[in-house]
Subunit: 357 residues, 4 copies
C-alpha cells in the first residue's frame, strides 16, 4: 500500500482531491541542476483541465509551491518537496459516507480496502488530480535528463476510431519530441488532430466518454541502460505508468502487434553507419533484453474511457445492499487522453532518470 | 542492475545458460506450507523444451535441487533456495568473444553494458533458460495461494493469425484454470489448438518463428488487494512479467481494446446477487484503481517471435566494425508461446503472493 | 542519497533549516486510526528548543499542518503528509557560500558531496531541526501502536558523568514509559535529574557542550516480531536511529557491556510463570536472533556533544585553502540529549510499527 | 522476514545449519572484476572453526562452489551465486521438535514465529554457520573495493577484561589493515593477543564463554560517501552488522564514549596539510552528518558471549509447559570473537561497496 516508487531516486506522491493539498517529494536528485520553472508550469498547464471543450470546464489553479530542495532555482541535493494547496476545500466535518460506488472507478474496492475510512470526496487519493504532482516531478526529471542530452515526448496515437500518424520508430528527433511536448493537444498529424477533436466532441454531446492510446518516445539514451532480469527498462517504466489512473496496458515497440508477426519480418537487423552500430528498424522500441539498444525508446499506453459519465448506470447501495440506479452529476472529461500526455511523459522521464542515476 | 524482485517476498534469480547452474532464492515465504513437489515438477516440465515439434528438440533435464527452506516437504520460513545444475557444461577456459550480435537479442546492448565480460554462451543470464527458476518459484507460490483459495491459470490466446476462444472474463472457474494449467499446450478450444499447432509448424518449416499472446487469470482473490498509487496490482505484476524474455506488452482486461471503446459500452456496472456485490461485466480485468474488485483478475502479455532463426540476417562484426551476414545454426523454437504459459502463470502467482503477504 | 526509510510503511522526510518549510510523508499507514493531535503536539513540544536553560533560547513555533491522509482526525489510508512552514525565512537571493566548515558538523563532507550547491543556512537538510518531522511521524506511529497495546518511552540514561537510574530491563511497565514520555526532561530519578541539569549548566557557562546516552524501551510487543537475517528488530531500528543527527552508537540490552561478561552471568534463562514462558533476566534487551522474545525491548543510543560551541576552533577556508580560526556566534544547545529523547522514541515507534505491519 | 539486504547491490543469504547447503547470491556486482579466489578462501578459513583451542574443534570443510556470475575468474555482471554443500547431513525424516529452548538463543522466539516449522537442527537459518556466505560475499566485495583503492580490516579490541591496543583512529594505513586481515587471531598488540588467548582458555576450562569487541576500519574512501538522512554510512552498515548473530551494539568513532565528553575535547578540527583538508583528530570515526569526511572510517561492534555453554541452565519445556534444567552437550566456542572478525570485515566491505555503486 504505497504511493512511493522508484529506486535510486524516490518519488513520494501525497494528497487527496478535496483535502488540504496535493504534492510530492522527489528524493535523490543530483545537486546543482538549474531548473527552469516556466517549463515546469507549462507541463502542468498541459495537464490542467478547462483548456477547451475536450476536457472538463472545472478550473484548477495549481500553483506548485516548492518547499525544499531548491535554492536560487537550483537543486540542493536535498529532497525536493512541492505542495499545491487545494484552495476550494470546505471546512467543517464531512460525512464520509460512500453509498453507491461509481462503476469502473476505485470506489468499491477502496471502500472494502479502507473499511470506509478513505476520503472519497472527488476520488480522494485515487483522483486523477493526483497526476499533477507526477507531472511536476516529471518536468523536473526532464530538465535533469536534458543536461544529459536526453529528450522525452509523446503524442496521442489514437482516440476512439481515429489514429494519428505513428512515430517513425527508428527515426525520431529531439526537435520532434520537443514540439509535441509543447502542445496542449499533442498530435503529429494536423488533420488527425481535427478528427480526434471531433470524435471527442461527439462523445461529449452523447454524455459519454472515449478511450485512446498515447505513444511516447525518448532519444539520446546511452546503449546498455537497464539490464539484468528485473531491473530492466520495461520493469522500471511499467509500474510508474500503471500508477497513472486509467492506464490499462503498456507495450514497447510493436507491442501487441508482435503477436501475428514472424521473426524474419520484425527482427531489428544491424549495420555499421558512420563507424557506429545502428539498427535497420526499431520494432523492439529501443529495448532488447531489457536494455536500451541505441534506437529511440518507444512505448505506448492505453487509456480507458473516463468512467464518470452522466448516463444512468446500474450500481448498488453498499449500506442497504440494494440495487440502485446511479446518475453522476457535474461535468466530466469526455476524453482524458490529451491531458494524460504530459503525465505519460513525466512517468517516462522519472523512470529514465532512475535508470540513469 | 538487478535480478531480484518483489517486496514482501523477494525472488532472486541467478545463473547463466552454460554456466554451472541456474536457480533462485525465494525469501519471505510463510513457514508451515506443505509442498507437493510432483506438481512443481509438472509445471517445470510444461516449460521444458523438446516436448514436441512446436518447440526446440534440445533436451533439458532440469532437476531442481532444493538447498534450504524446506524440511519434510514443508516450508521452514527460511529462504527457499533451489539450484538446477547444468550437466552439459564443458570445463576449461572459454574464449568469451562476441563478434556478431544476433538481431533482436540482448547480445549487442549486453556487450556494451558489460564491456564484453558477460557470459554470452547461450545468451548467458539473458537466456530463456533462466525462466526455469521462475517457474519453480511460481509453482511454490501457487501452492501457498491454493491454501488461501486462489487459483491461477493461463492459455494461449493467439499465435500468429490464429486465436483461441478468449476467457469469459466475468465467469472463470478454478476448475477451468486448473485444467489449463495442467496442459503442455494450453488452449481452451481444441480446434484452435490444432490450427495454432499448424501455424507453428508452418513457420518451423520456413525456418522462421512466430509470436503470440498469453491470457492469464486468477480467481479467489479478496476484494481490495493492491492499492494506493504505485503499489497496485498492475504495478506489482508488470515488472515481473516484463522480466520474462520476449514479453513486449502487458495489459489488463480489455487492455489496448479500450482505445476505441466508450464508457457506456465498457463500464463494469454492479448488482447485488446472493447478498453480495457482483460485477455485471469484467472489462477491467478485475482491477479498479489498482485494487482487486472481486471479479477474476485477467491480464494478457504479448510474446514476440523468437529472434533466433536460421535465415540469413544482416548484422555487424563488433571487433572489425564491418557489416556481416549472420546465419544462426542449430535448431530453434519456432514459437516460444506454449512454453511461456507456465512462466506467465508463475509470474502472476508470485506477484499475487507478494500482494497477499 | 535518500531521506526515505522503512519498508512496509515508508517515511519520507524533507526540508531545509532555513528554507520554506520542513515536513514528512508517512506512506502505508492503516486506515481508520483516530489520532489525538494534542498528544502529537506535546511530543513536538518536548523536542522544541527554548524550554529552559538546558537548551537553546531560539524560539520555534512549529505548527504541523496536515495536508493529507487524515479526515475527521482519522487516518484515511492515503499517505499522511505534514508540513511545518518556516516563518522566519528571508526572501531574496542568498549567497550560498560555505567558506569555513564547522568542526564535527556535516559542513565539509556536504560541501564536497553536493559540490557547493547544498543549502548550508542553519545546516540545511542536515539540521537537527529536521528531527521535528520525525517526532511528528513517531507520535502518529505511537498512537497506531497504542491501539495494539504497545507503549514506547525513553529516558536520559547519562549526561556527562551523571547517570540516571537505569531501566530494570525485565520489569518495565507501560505506565512508567508513559510517565517518562510526558516529561520535557525525561529522567527516572529526580536527584539524577537535578545533577544532570547542573552538569549541563556547567558546560553552558563554559561555552562548551556535553554528550549523553538515551535508553528507550517498548512493552506489549508480541513474541517473534522481526526475524530472519537482515529483517531483524535491530536491523530495522538501527538505520532510523542512526538517521538522527549526533547519534554515534546503538546497542541493545547490555550492549557494549557484554564485552567483559561471560555467558553464565548474562544468559537470559526461562521459567514458566502463570502458564506463560517468561525470562528470568533481560540482558538481551528483549531481542534474540533478531526477534522479540516477550521481554521489554530495551536499547540505548549515544548522543555526541553538540559540535556548535562558542570557543575558538581550528578550521580551514575552503576557498583560499588557508588555515583559519573559527568562532561560531549565536547561542547553542549546551546539551541536545533531553530534546533528543522524543526523537529516539519516535524512531523506535516508527521502526516497531514497520515490523508490525 | 528477509535475508536479503543492501540497495544497489543486493545480498541474499540462504541455508540452514544442517540442511543441504548454505550460500548466497550477490546481485548487482560490476562486470569485469578479476577475482583472486585464494584470498577468498583465506578469509573463509579465518572464520572456520577448529583452528585452535580458542574455537570449537568441529571441522567444517566449507568449499564454496560458484554457480554463476564468474567466468574465467572474472565477474560477468550477472548475479554471483555460491553454494557450500553440507556434506555431513543425515538423510531420512527428522522429528523437528523443539522442546527446551536454549537460553539467549533464537530458539524460543523462532518457535513462536515459525509455529514450530523452522529447521531447528543446529540453529537452522539462525546458525552462526550462515556467516560463511557473508564472509564469502565480503571477500568478493573487498576485491572490488581494492580496485578502487579501498582497504578494510579489523582487530579484536577487547575480550573479557583484556584490551588490545586501539586503532590510532586518525592514522591507519592500508598495510596495517591488510596485516590484520591476514591473521586468524587479529590483534595489534602481541602481548594483548597472548592475554586474550589466556582469557579465552580460562573460560573454556570453566565450560563458560566470554564476549568481546571488534574494531574495524576502512581507508581510501572518498569524501562525501553516504549522505542525506537515512542513506548514511551508519544506516547502511548498521543493519548488515546487526544481521551478524551475537552482535548487540554498533558504534562509530568514540561511540558510547562520547557520553561523558565535551565538545571542546572531542570536536575534530581541520587544517590544511599538503594543500589538502585534513582532520586533526578522528573521534567521529570518519563519518560526519552520515558522510565520509576523509579520515579513516572506524567503527566497533560488541559480540555477546556465546550462549551455548555446558553448565546447567534453567529453561522450560514448550510442550509440557514445565520448568526444566537444560544441559547443552557437545563442544562449543568459548569465544566467538576471533572468528567473527572476518565477518565484520565482510559486512563492512559489502556496505561500503553498496555506498560506492
Amino acid at each position: 500500500m504505497s504511493s512511493v516508487i522508484l529506486n535510486k531516486i524516490k518519488l513520494s506522491v501525497f494528497g487527496e482531491s478535496h483535502g488540504n493539498g496535493i504534492g510530492c517529494v522527489i528524493d535523490g536528485l543530483p545537486a546543482g541542476v538549474k531548473l527552469d520553472f516556466d517549463k515546469i508550469y507549462k507541463d502542468m498547464a498541459r495537464r490542467a483541465p478547462g483548456k477547451d471543450l475536450t476536457s472538463t470546464p472545472r478550473l484548477e489553479k495549481d500553483i506548485p509551491n516548492v518547499i525544499s530542495g531548491v535554492l536560487n532555482d537550483t537543486t540542493t541535493g536535498a529532497p525536493l518537496a512541492m505542495i499545491i494547496e487545494n484552495t476550494n476545500t470546505q471546512s467543517g466535518d464531512y460525512s464520509n459516507l460512500m453509498t453507491v460506488p461509481r462503476p469502473s472507478h476505485s470506489d468499491y474496492p477502496a471502500y472494502i480496502k479502507y473499511n470506509g475510512y478513505n476520503d472519497i470526496r472527488g476520488g480522494g487519493h485515487f483522483s486523477g488530480r493526483l497526476t499533477a504532482p507526477i507531472v511536476f516531478a516529471g518536468a523536473v526529471a526532464k530538465q535533469v535528463l536534458m543536461q544529459k542530452g536526453i529528450t522525452v515526448g509523446a503524442h496521442i496515437k489514437q482516440i476512439g476510431s481515429i489514429k494519428d500518424t505513428a512515430f517513425d520508430m527508428n527515426n525520431i528527433s529531439a526537435d520532434e519530441l520537443n514540439t509535441l511536448a509543447s502542445k496542449s493537444f499533442s498530435a503529429i498529424n494536423a488533420e488527425a488532430e481535427l478528427a480526434m477533436r471531433a470524435e471527442i466532441e461527439k462523445f461529449r454531446l452523447e454524455q459519454d466518454s472515449v478511450g485512446g492510446i498515447i505513444e511516447c518516445a525518448a532519444v539520446g539514451l546511452p546503449v546498455g541502460l537497464g539490464g539484468n532480469m528485473f531491473d530492466t527498462v520495461e520493469s522500471t517504466l511499467a509500474p510508474i505508468l500503471f500508477g497513472i489512473p486509467a492506464v490499462k496496458g503498456v507495450q514497447f515497440g510493436l507491442g501487441f502487434d508482435f503477436a501475428d508477426k514472424n521473426a524474419s519480418q520484425v527482427n531489428d537487423e544491424y549495420e555499421v553507419k558512420d563507424e557506429r552500430v545502428t539498427l535497420l528498424s526499431n520494432n523492439n522500441g529501443g529495448v532488447l533484453g531489457g536494455m536500451t539498444d541505441g534506437a529511440p525508446l518507444v512505448f505506448s499506453v492505453v487509456i480507458k474511457p473516463t468512467p464518470s459519465i452522466s448516463k444512468p448506470q446500474r450500481s448498488v447501495n453498499l449500506q442497504t445492499m440494494k440495487n440502485e440506479t446511479l446518475i453522476i452529476r457535474g461535468r466530466h472529461d469526455p476524453c482524458i487522453v490529451a491531458r494524460a500526455v504530459p503525465v505519460v511523459e513525466a512517468a517516462a522521464a522519472l523512470g529514465i532518470l532512475d535508470l540513469m542515476m
